[in-house]
């Protein structure tokens, strides 16, 4: 597995897209910190960007990378390697190189602008952790989708739909349900519903950490009320970890049964 990872990673590190992604975060972070006077504001703006962008890039790159490396995968399948290591190696190669771009893109400017001496270090680290979680989650989801459909157009469509669903539609449905059943106690329902959406979870996690009640929203408030800040953060992290493990197991299973 390590060898597959090594070759995938170095192949990706040579690709233009990874640098474009890095450059984007560098520019945005620098711009945000420069234009606003205060670092904590910049962190909140960054949060909004990464909640949309990390899942989107993870999904798109995941599908794109899978379809682009079909040749490489075919080559590897004929070699004495278990399928599990081939696909896990490819996945880690992609997820880690994307995370590295994200980490450097946000981290470098923040370090330069003095995040270490600002007292916001924990908040900043939470931000980085969520971005990395989201990258790992959505690349895994994209791998599942791409393995399931031979046709790249359909695969891309599916992957983008899942991103759209979890980023936008899911919240909309939740909102409609809550308005419709206004008169019932919905706290528990909202709490459980948010566990099933990694984007929501990440938002709640950052809000709990930043402790901004005004921006917490309904689910965030419920989280804090029921679990308290400490337990809330722990639950959110564990749920995010599940969101990585389940799709990864799923795509390993798909890969084991597929005909190439």
């Amino acid at each position: 597995m390590f060898k597959v990872f090594k070759y995938s990673f170095f192949d990706l590190v040579r690709s233009r897209w990874i640098y474009a992604y890095l450059l984007f975060f560098l520019l945005v972070t620098t711009g945000l910190v420069w234009s606003g006077s205060d670092l904590s504001r910049a962190l909140i703006s960054l949060m909004n960007i990464l909640l949309i962008l990390c899942p989107l890039i993870g999904t798109l790159f995941g599908a794109l990378y899978y379809y682009n490396s079909r040749e490489f995968i075919d080559l590897l399948l004929a070699l004495p390697l278990p399928r599990r290591s081939i696909f896990l190696g490819k996945y880690l190669g992609l997820a880690i190189s994307l995370s590295a771009s994200f980490l450097l893109g946000i981290g470098l400017p923040m370090v330069v602008f003095g995040v270490f001496s600002s007292g916001l270090l924990t908040n900043f680290l939470t931000l980085l952790a969520t971005g990395i979680f989201l990258t790992f989650i959505f690349t895994a989801i994209a791998f599942v989708v791409a393995l399931k459909s031979e046709n790249p157009i359909r695969g891309f469509g599916m992957a983008i739909f899942i991103w759209l669903f979890l980023s936008v539609i899911y919240d909309g449905i939740l909102l409609v349900v809550m308005m419709y059943f206004e008169s019932y106690p919905l706290d528990r329902f909202a709490l459980i519903a948010s566990l099933f959406n990694p984007v929501d979870l990440s938002r709640i996690l950052i809000m709990l950490q930043l402790d901004i009640s005004a921006l917490m929203g309904y689910t965030g408030a419920v989280f804090r009320k029921f679990l308290g800040t400490g337990t809330g953060i722990a639950v959110a992290y564990s749920a995010l970890a599940c969101w990585i493990v389940v799709p990864v197991l799923l795509f390993i299973r798909c890969a084991g049964r597929k005909d190439f």
């Binding site: 070759y7 040749e71 490489f72 080559l75 590897l76 399948l77 004495p80 390697l81 005909d259």
Partner: protein, 235 residues
Amino acid sequence: MKIIDLHKAYGRFGVLKGVDLELKDRAITAVLGPNGSGKTTLIKCLLGMVIGQKGDILYHGEPVGRGWAYRSDIGYLPQIARFPENLKVKELVAMIRDIRNQPAETDALVALFGLDAFMNKPLRQLSGGTRQKVNILIAFMFDSPVYILDEPTVGLDPVALIRFKELLLAEKRKGKAILMTTHIVHLVEELADEVVFLLEGKVYFKGDVKALKELNKSESLEEAIAKILELEKHV
């Protein structure tokens, strides 16, 4: 290596319907058959890239199941040479060597097929024939006991073809078991110790070239094959 009663269907469309086959050491087995008769699927089953619904593939008497370690004894040449396009030939060879982690001998093969000039070129710049030579290099650079070749001669020029035939015979003399699919009849006549004729997912004929000619009293192998195909159309 042995195949016992192998079945494979894609959805409801049966491709292999009970194929039995044995790869003997020190022999070249040629698999013939019209397009879509299941040759490539058979080969992919042997490599575990496609998983059959029924039947077994035995290597040294052990069913391979979903194992992978037996593949270190196989040199495989895929039908369509698909490589990571950005890699240079040299890097590709080094990578496969590193992943297989077995001793490899490349210099002689590179010289045999005149690949020296191409080793530093990325694969996307290579012509079809050169890619096929790279394909051959990758399949034969390890000293594997079994070779599985899917249309190995596609795109090769006459010189390379002669060299390739010599290579195959040399490997056979070393005691290797070789399986290849091809449409080129004279190649079969020249090289094959055993011919397997696949038709609609079943073994229609198994035996040597002489027996196939005698089967329908043909002068040449070409005629014999044509007769089989004609016959099937009328039925």
